[in-house]
Amino acid sequence: MGAKYVLQASQFQFLFDALTARGYQVIGPKLQDGAIVYDALSSVQDLPAGWTDQQEAGTYRLENRSDSAFFGYTVGPYSWKKFLHLPARKLKRGKSAEGEFHFVSENEEIPKLAFVGVRACELHAMTIQDKIFMGGIYRDSSYAERRENIFVIAVNCGKAGGTCFCVSMKTGPKASGGYDWVLTEVIEKDRHYFVVESGTGAGKEILAGEEILKELDCPLAAEAEIALSERIVEETACQMGRRLKTEGIKDLLYKNLEHPHWDEVANRCLTCGNCTMVCPTCFCASIAEITDLTGEKVERVQKWDSCFTEDFSYIHGGSIRKTAKSRYRQWMTHKLAYWIDQFGTSGCVGCGRCITWCPAGIDITEEAKGFYGDS
């Protein structure tokens, strides 16, 4: 374990400045339209200090906290996915000459981003997407380049939300790796500080992180401070709003592909696709080529897509997943079962977004219980 330091809340702006000086754009939580979303921050003033969220199936509410914690909320609707696997992206441009199209790749500007406030579940989601986009023979160079240019400041959760179940998925609430820095926010009667620990890698970001710690002149954390920060995370682990039984879930779902419970979910499922859009591991996209009126120019565009649309499973002869039942079953069995065969881990990190942001309040942890019932 690396050394732990103490960063005062009042020094947070210096941290932002140090990141900016190294060419990073700071991305972090801020209030937008009644939720906490990740966006570019211009200063610490943008942080949602003193705000928290209450989440349940199909509902999300912002509330005031009794203190001024910077990271006193859980997770909002959008994960960091939107900065790495972009919602929409032009891949190539083509021009027609002598009856043929000649394509050139779009030149993408890859920004240097510092993610501030990444949660343990989200770090796991990023690791999962790394495997998808960079682990196989088909490497997504845009994702890979973006991924290489981020500085990750993780935050151990000081509060669990009503739809959180990272403890069940063994992905949190304590960050276990994949970060450059990890912070634990501590608020005592008259003190507001962060216990900071550097990541264990050897990348240039780690070195930058150490430099910044030196620049800010952070003292080593005292034993009492470390103990307090650890207790906060332990308490969070006991507050999980949900739990998902994972023992044998893969075989259970494989055995129950025709279980009547799928019809029951289909009765409620809107097939709107919200669960897949907010999921930090869902990675599906579709690609379209669009000509202009003249037919001389064409663009190849990639956009997030979802297994909840008809087009997504369109093959010769039509869509193979016509019903809500078949689409929900595809999503849930992929996430919790096929994913294990495909990528070696579960596709679910227990962030609870699919539960909160489903307008019908469909709850993956409850749906899973439907299959344990009589197996």
């Binding site: 199909g58 999300y60 709107c272 669009i290 202009d292 009126l293 008809e310 307008p359």
Partner: protein
């Protein structure tokens, strides 16, 4: 398509407000490129000059509400190689399909001083109830970029890149926060066909369903969500009866709540 000759485009109006035709005129920057590629052969909203058919592409706005409409649409189909309808009226009967829930004679006698002059059908029906339609472009009004897309697709003989998925997908692509989950604002987005770039939720209003039902809409489930947000049966009847009340899933859902109300 004849070689070296520009394809002929015709625009036809039936019972409608002309808003969708205006969307075509709204394509100001692209109109020159368009007129370079097609011959605008019949578009009374834009020009009195009318060229004889047959037409390679007909855009049809409006619903069928009169005996004359019902006859004329067959003539339009006969002179059109490809017939694409534009807008909610043509796709589902439009706002005027509200008459379908009552006896139209009741309205006529109230609204007009001399009802005997009015010759109208009892129902407002979509174009596809009368003739085969090659593609229905949704919206009240249609989105001008989608309108250009279907014309570009037609000119280049490819499939239009227009999806029948939910408005929610566009909200999420844009980064809009869900108004229903975060703010308890009832929204038709989960059952509504995308195409407007999720306009209303991005200005903090619920979706009004201008583009009509999406593919596989689960209106019953959405109604239960609305009820939890405080909507009563009257609200639910009304919300499914606006620009697309004639679209089967919306009509059926509104009738369910009308029965529950009584």
């Amino acid at each position: 398509m004849r070689k070296n000759k520009k394809p002929k485009l015709a625009v036809w109006k039936f019972t409608s407000c002309d808003g969708c035709q205006l969307s075509l005129l709204d394509c100001e920057d692209e109109l020159l490129a368009l007129s370079d590629k097609v011959e605008i052969a019949n578009f009374l909203e834009a020009s009195r000059a009318v060229l004889k058919g047959p037409y390679d592409l007909s855009l049809v706005e409006g619903s069928i509400t009169t005996p004359q409409d019902a006859e004329r649409i067959h003539q339009v189909r006969r002179v059109s190689k490809l017939l694409i309808t534009i807008g909610a009226c043509a796709a589902s009967g439009g706002i005027q399909a509200l008459r379908n829930f009552k006896e139209v004679k009741q309205f006529i006698s109230i609204v007009y001083a001399k009802p005997e002059y009015i010759e109208t059908l009892n129902k407002s029906t979509p174009i596809s109830d009368h003739v085969p339609v090659d593609f229905e472009l949704r919206g009240c009004p249609v989105n001008k970029y989608q309108l250009l897309e279907i014309i570009a697709a037609f000119l280049n003989r490819r499939k239009p890149v227009i999806s029948a998925r939910s408005v929610c997908m566009d909200c999420k692509l844009k980064g809009t926060v869900c108004v229903m989950v975060a703010d308890r604002i009832p929204c038709l987005g989960p059952v509504t066909h995308a195409g407007c770039c999720a306009l209303c939720p991005s200005i903090h209003r619920g979706c009004y369903g201008c583009f009509g039902p999406k593919e596989t809409p689960n209106t019953a489930s959405l109604s239960r969500t609305w009820e939890k947000l405080g909507a009563d049966q009257d609200d639910l009847v009304r919300v499914f009866r606006s620009f697309n009340s004639g679209a089967e899933p919306f009509r059926r859902e509104s009738e369910i709540h009308e029965i529950k109300k009584d």
